[in-house]
Amino acid sequence: MAFVLTHLVPGDPAVANLGDRASADPVAVRIYREHFGLDKPLPVQYFVYLGNLLHGDLGESEQSQRPVSTDLAEYIPATAELAITSIVLACLLGITLGVIAALNRNRLSDQIIRVVSLGGMSTPQFWLALVALYIFFYKLSWVPGSGRLDAIVLPPPHLTGLFTIDSLAAGQFDVFANSIQHLILPACVLAAFNMGLFTRFTRSAVLEVLENDYVRTARAKGLPELTVVFRHILRAASPPILTVVGLAFGNVMTGTVLVENIFSWPGIGQYSYRSATALDLPAIVGVMLFVAIVYILVNMVVDILYGIIDPRVQLA
């Protein structure tokens, strides 16, 4: 499917990707096409691609001239670090705010949180990224600028590709601190939309749960309010929230394209953007496959969590 869609795009990759003069040189074009198998009819290309895919071979990127799988392996950890951090941030903030809003329904704090969450959802990420960089980097100097590390800091030895984890594993605490500093701002910007989303969903889910008698039962036991909120209310409200968190991985994937660009974050977002603008078909298909796998995995995890959270749900 992904293969067909990307090949339906008008435009000749050889002409788009070669240099101005080389694109008019039949020999250069022929070499390019042979190299990437573009000289064969489309159905043949498709079966060659499928055959390779079965061996875990995603083909070679026309831009980087490296196997797409190598490219993905290089970019995925950066995006994973950013995306997971942002989802965790969005969950922590969004769910907390959503609970506060629900418990204070229609009071001032609820109104303020509504404005904050709507703001998070409706602010363009591109703009937010620039403004955040301007304020927190330029004006306040709270965070360093773009990139995953300061220019002079060397990356930690490769283990997972997640700099925070790798630096800790290597005992390089200064690198760890630096990577956290670089991570926090893009992660927050990327989290803004989902924070708003989670707040809205948590609020309505909690409001629904609050109607239930078992909340009153929990209070009648004399449990402290935090226990009631976290053990009883949030537990019951979690299935719809979990669904949204699962879907949020999709938002994050699209969000990375802009945020990674502004923060010079070498991840899948930048890679897919570059691949798309260069009509780098193997790379585009590779990214689409990756995103599809993420979706499937996230959905699987969500389904499993449903079963753990709610014993009434039977795993099929």
């Binding site: 009648a220 019951a236 014993p311 009434r312």
Partner: protein, 326 residues
């Protein structure tokens, strides 16, 4: 017989744009240890709100007045933290619907032991042992297995027993049971009521039994208070109130009961609808539905007047009350 809880002039109201809206309007009663106290009335009469006010579990926005003295301490003016410590340990509550009153996603063990561990500081092992004890006490078969279960694996009656076990866990002195049998089959009802009665006797527990079903009360309660539209209309020992009910509303409730000895006799429902808090008539709130209504009923709220041993009643039309009032 010692008075455990003494409620005086309990009021609950909501602040609305058009001024305070009373829900419960000056209710007073006493509850003694080892006794079942019945609170009766149609839905909307303020019974449940009264109970929730005692536990401090009123919905947000509700305001309260009056006093409820438990052991010399006024529940209504307690600080919130202190109030919370009384819940479960001194005053516990069992709710009407066993389907929705237990958390569907938490194990019975968790729901039965979390307050034991928090309120009484028990270890997990101690709490589990106590939980088995409690389940045995409320006659749950195979209590160890039941602890590992979830609410949806139990029948309604079993769930209500579990609820009672949860309420009893911290050995409260007053158990408030709000319509504990309404949602259950008739056959199961009797078992629950017997359980409540036994616990009351064995543990010297005060039980406040809230129900619209006077039949339940006549079998179980030592004293009965009947509420209508947020006010007490009649109260006293069960035998007097039920056997020789005087207030037209109480009498209406009794007449609407199916009678075991006269199954062929038609039930006599009370005409009209009970008045909600927004549309309470002036004077005696019952007067629009009352067969004995006289002009003063529509203007002045009738005071509660003691008419014989332990019985109080609010009806100016009743000849006895009228003579006493004179």
């Amino acid at each position: 017989m010692t008075t455990l809880l003494s409620v005086r002039d309990l009021r609950v109201w909501l602040d609305t744009a058009r001024g305070p809206l009373p829900i419960v309007d000056g209710v007073s009663f006493d509850i003694s240890a080892g006794q079942v106290f019945g609170l009766a009335g149609e839905s909307g009469s303020g019974k449940t709100i009264t109970a929730l006010a005692l536990l401090g579990l009123l919905p947000a926005g509700a305001r309260t007045g009056g006093s409820a003295i438990l052991d010399g301490r006024d529940l209504m003016t307690m600080r919130t933290a202190q109030r919370r410590r009384t819940r479960g340990r001194e005053v516990a509550m069992v709710f009407q619907d066993p389907m929705s009153s237990l958390h569907p996603m938490l194990t019975i063990e968790r729901q039965l032991t979390e307050h034991l561990r928090y309120q009484l500081g028990m270890s997990r092992k101690e709490a589990d042992e106590r939980a088995v004890e409690l389940l045995t006490e409320v006659r749950i078969p195979n209590p160890e297995a039941a602890l590992r279960g979830h609410p949806h694996q139990f029948s309604g009656g079993m769930r209500q027993r579990i609820q009672i076990a949860i309420a009893l866990a911290c050995e409260p002195r007053l158990l408030v049971a709000d319509e504990p049998t309404t949602a259950l089959d008739v056959t199961v009802q009797a078992g629950i009521l017997r359980l409540l009665h036994r616990l009351c006797q064995e543990k010297d527990l005060a039980v406040m039994l809230i129900t619209h079903d006077l039949g339940v009360l006549s079998a179980l309660a030592d004293t009965v208070t009947v509420m209508y539209a947020g006010r007490v209309v009649e109260s006293g020992p069960t035998a007097q109130v039920m056997g020789r009910s005087r207030h037209p509303y109480t009498r209406g409730l009794v007449d609407s009961l199916p009678h075991p000895e006269a199954a062929d006799r038609a039930l006599v429902p009370i005409a009209g609808e009970p008045a909600g808090p927004e549309s309470r008539p002036a004077g005696c709130a019952f007067h629009p539905r009352c067969r004995y209504m006289e002009p003063p009923c529509a203007t002045a709220v009738p005071p509660l007047i003691r008419i014989d041993d332990g019985r109080e009643m609010a009806c100016p039309v009743d000849p006895l009350v009228a003579s006493l009032a004179r």
